[in-house]
């Protein structure tokens, strides 16, 4: 056991910190830190900057831009990035479809998509969930039927995050309605400009538009857009969802937000009750960060460490708790949520309530926290 980072890892951390705080435009990082909405261009510019420096997809295979880092270094990379307010590389691209393609796709498909995916030349959307297939993803009904070399897709996806920016969507579709639920599913890549594909906005309770419905009416998809083998989609989905879980414990972000909350608190910090609340949160966050470090230090690579469910579960709870703290710091001033310039209340008070409401999503998506508990119970505890 040893607490300190090795000299090399320490130098690595410093290098990351310097890069993130000097190479990504301050304006973008300030937008992220203030909790304002970052448009498409902010994501694209950031990811291209990272990609040019070899920092967008370090966990991919080396031949596709990966860095062969230890899990510890990947952790440090992510933490420093979040601490600096750098928007994480688009998860749909770098944590979800990229690794799946690298693992399962044909050489041709890899060459076609992976470099563009790393550089965010293609903005990917995740088209898995459907109205009746949420936690029970295998209940999906969107169908793909052969027509010569092509597939004809019909059905509806929902909850498609940032689908309004999407160029392509990776989908799970039912290709064998006769087979058992999981066995009849395939993964198809679909160009979102294809005729018959329609993106419809969904408004969330914070007033924002970040999710969409995606409707498919006789959408013609070339046969070559099938990933891997037909009816092997479930294997890829499981692989993808495992990665999704690892990426979602936003320790660095929560830490930054908690430190910011203390600054925003001002003289409210004289209140012992408030100090106790902050101290509790800080301590839990410390334990979570240490858990993340333990997982990173001991992971053999490849399969996600089983304790990554702890990170998702606790990470999202703390993320929500910190947003609740900021909401309470704003208190009655949070009622100014719709105020624009000219308000006498600081901008952060306008954003506090929408952020709190919006973050209720964190325990629902990416495998809900109930599903994480089930994974812990089954896989780790053997129950």
């Amino acid at each position: 056991m040893q607490l300190e980072l090795s000299t090399e890892d320490e130098a690595f951390r410093e290098e990351m910190r310097t890069f993130f705080t000097t190479q990504v435009p301050a304006e973008i990082r300030e937008t992220v830190i203030a909790g304002r909405e970052l448009g498409r261009d902010g994501y694209v510019e950031t990811q291209r900057t990272l990609n040019a420096a070899g920092l967008a997809v370090p966990h991919w295979p080396v031949e596709w831009g990966g860095r062969d880092w230890s899990d510890l270094r990947r952790h440090l990379w992510l933490e420093e990035m979040q601490a600096a307010g750098v928007p994480a590389p688009l998860p749909f691209n770098v944590s979800m479809i990229g690794p799946v393609l690298a693992q399962f796709a044909s050489q041709e498909m890899k060459e076609r998509f992976l470099p563009a995916t790393a550089n965010l030349d293609i903005w990917w959307s995740q088209g898995f969930s459907e109205p009746d297939a949420g936690s029970d993803l295998a209940g999906l009904r969107t169908s793909a039927v052969r027509d010569g070399d092509d597939w004809i897709v019909n059905g509806q996806k929902t909850w498609t995050t940032l689908g309004q920016y999407g160029d392509w969507i990776f989908t799970l579709v039912r290709t064998d309605p006769e087979a058992k639920k999981q066995a009849g599913i395939s993964m198809l890549l679909i160009d979102m400009t294809t005729p018959g594909l329609e993106v419809r906005p969904i408004q969330l309770i914070d007033g924002g538009h970040e999710v969409n419905e995606v409707w498919f009416t006789d959408v013609r998809v070339p046969g070559e857009n099938l990933v891997g083998e037909v009816n092997q989609g479930w294997t890829m989905a499981k692989f993808l969802l495992g990665n999704e879980r690892v990426g979602v414990a936003p320790v660095g972000t929560v830490k930054r937000n908690l430190a910011r909350a203390k600054r925003l608190a001002g003289n409210q910090l004289n209140d012992p009750l408030l100090r106790a609340r902050v101290a509790e949160l800080e301590n839990e966050l410390l334990a979570l960060e240490l858990t993340a470090l333990r997982v990173a230090a001991h992971s053999a690579g490849g399969e996600p460490h089983p304790a990554s469910s702890v990170l998702k579960l606790k990470g999202t709870e703390l993320q929500q708790a910190v947003s609740e703290l900021v909401l309470d710091l704003a208190g009655p001033a949070a009622y100014s949520s719709g105020a624009g310039a000219g308000s006498d209340l600081p901008e952060w008070t306008h954003l506090a309530a929408p952020a709190y409401l919006n973050l209720r999503k964190a325990s629902i998506y990416g495998g809900s926290n109930e599903i994480q508990r089930q994974i812990i119970a089954r896989t780790i505890l053997g129950l």
Binding site: S129, D132, G134, S135, D136, G139, T158, W159, I202, Q203, L204, I205, D206, G207, V211, A265, G266, N267, Q268, N270, D271, L273, L274, R277, Q320, E324, L327, D328, L329, G331, P332, A333, A334, Y335, S336, S337, G338, A339, G340, G342, S343, D344, L345, A353, P354, Y356, L357, R360, K361, S363, I364, Y365, S368, N369, E370, R373
Partner: protein, 396 residues
């Protein structure tokens, strides 16, 4: 002691429920109404007036009905069930309550008469953007940065109040302001009066609020000169807090029933969600929270009805703390157990949670009440709900 409503109260509840259901039983209708200014329905406001609800807490001689906090609570709970956006709480109970408590008989007759008749919407302009000595004092009953002066016999106000719930639509503002000789006074200012500028905006619960700036705005002193109205504000806030607890109760009831309905009907993995005990137990915990909140709220209304001001403020704080905790719990769980659908603006449940949050912050959140109550725990042994007091002997 009796925790059940009598026949008249049941009749009141049914009548209000009928009206509220006709107006907003269809959640789409509520969405349409809050999407457009002023954020509530003038028609429904008139209907509330016709039913006597806008004058409910005020004496008959000023055009009111002379009902008590229990009846006010019944109305608030029914409006809470459908998320009615009409400003019953802030206009009638809070701002109207201040006029009833502080105003001269003439002021009461004029202002409360118009309020009861649905002719004037009131707003209480009290919160100051980071009033000194800082945010910790945000639910204090005093005004600091908005000041009143009477250079030549006319009161003039200066400073900014924000956010003021329904401050833009309000015909008449009840404004708290620091007095030249110290203490906090209450003033009446027409919303469109000289020296008043207002910027309105939407709030996260579908409501409306405003920044209201006073620049030498002529104002009428509410009640007798020379009186510090801080205690009046405390008392009126206690009344409004208990009404807010009732409104929250209505919202929590519906959040729970929507959740249990959903668990019964939503199917995943080929079975209804209610098949998963982990979820049904959490619904059971929501019910526990709801009943705790109901008990504390009904109790506080009865303490208020007893007329003892000092006990009233404490009871309002205790109910406020319990409802804050229950509201957070039920609101958050209602969303979680629904999954993604509850995150959407179209669906009732997330909106209930937003309103519960706003109600929590309106007159002191759980943290605030806990601080108040914690300061006194050393002074008594055990609490007696029937007297509402701790027994000092036991502690000694």
């Amino acid at each position: 002691m009796d925790f059940t409503y009598d026949d008249e109260q049941v009749a009141l509840r049914d009548a209000v429920r009928g009206l509220a259901t006709r107006a907003y039983g269809d959640f789409e209708q509520r969405r349409r109404v809050v999407a457009e200014d002023p954020g509530f329905s003038e028609k429904v406001w008139t209907q509330l007036a016709e039913m006597g609800l806008l004058g409910l807490p005020f004496p008959e001689e000023v055009g009111g009905v002379g009902a008590g906090p229990v009846e006010v609570g019944i109305v608030a709970a029914e409006l809470g069930r459908v998320l009615a956006p009409e400003p019953f709480l802030t206009s009638v109970v809070l701002a109207g309550g201040l006029v009833a408590a502080a105003g001269t008989p003439e002021q009461q007759a004029d202002v409360l008469g118009r309020l009861s008749a649905g002719e004037a919407v009131l707003a209480f302009a009290h919160h100051e953007p980071w009033g000194s000595p800082g945010p910790a004092a945000r639910w204090s009953p005093t005004a600091t940065t908005v000041t009143a002066s009477d250079p030549d016999g006319t009161w003039l106000l200066g400073g900014v109040k924000e956010p003021v719930a329904h401050g833009l639509r309000a015909d008449l503002l009840v404004v708290s302001a620091a007095l030249p000789a110290g203490g906090t006074g209450l003033f009446l200012v027409p919303g469109d009066g000289p020296g008043v500028s207002r910027t309105g905006y939407s709030t996260y619960d579908g409501g409306r609020a405003a920044r209201v700036a006073f620049d030498g705005a002529p104002a009428i002193r509410l009640g007798a000169p020379g009186v510090d109205q801080s205690a009046t504000i405390v008392a009126a806030a206690a009344q409004a807090r208990v009404a807010a607890c009732h409104e929250a109760l209505g919202a929590m009831e519906v959040a729970l029933s929507a959740t249990t309905d959903y668990l019964r009907t939503r199917k995943q993995f080929g079975v209804p969600l209610a098949t998963f005990q982990s979820l049904t137990f959490r619904a059971a915990d929501m019910y526990v929270s709801l009943e705790m909140a109901r008990s504390a709220t009904l109790w506080a209304a009865m303490v208020l009805a007893s007329g003892d001001r000092e006990r009233a403020a404490e009871a309002a704080s205790r109910a406020g703390l319990q409802v804050s905790r229950s509201g957070r719990h039920i609101g958050q769980e209602a969303i979680q157990l629904h999954g993604g659908i509850a995150m959407t603006a179209e669906y009732l449940v997330g909106n209930l949670t937003a309103r519960l949050t706003a109600l929590d912050h309106l007159l002191g959140d759980g943290h605030h009440h806990l601080t108040t109550l914690a300061a006194g725990v050393g002074d008594y042994g055990a609490l007696d709900p029937l007297t509402g007091r701790g027994s000092k002997e036991e502690h000694a």
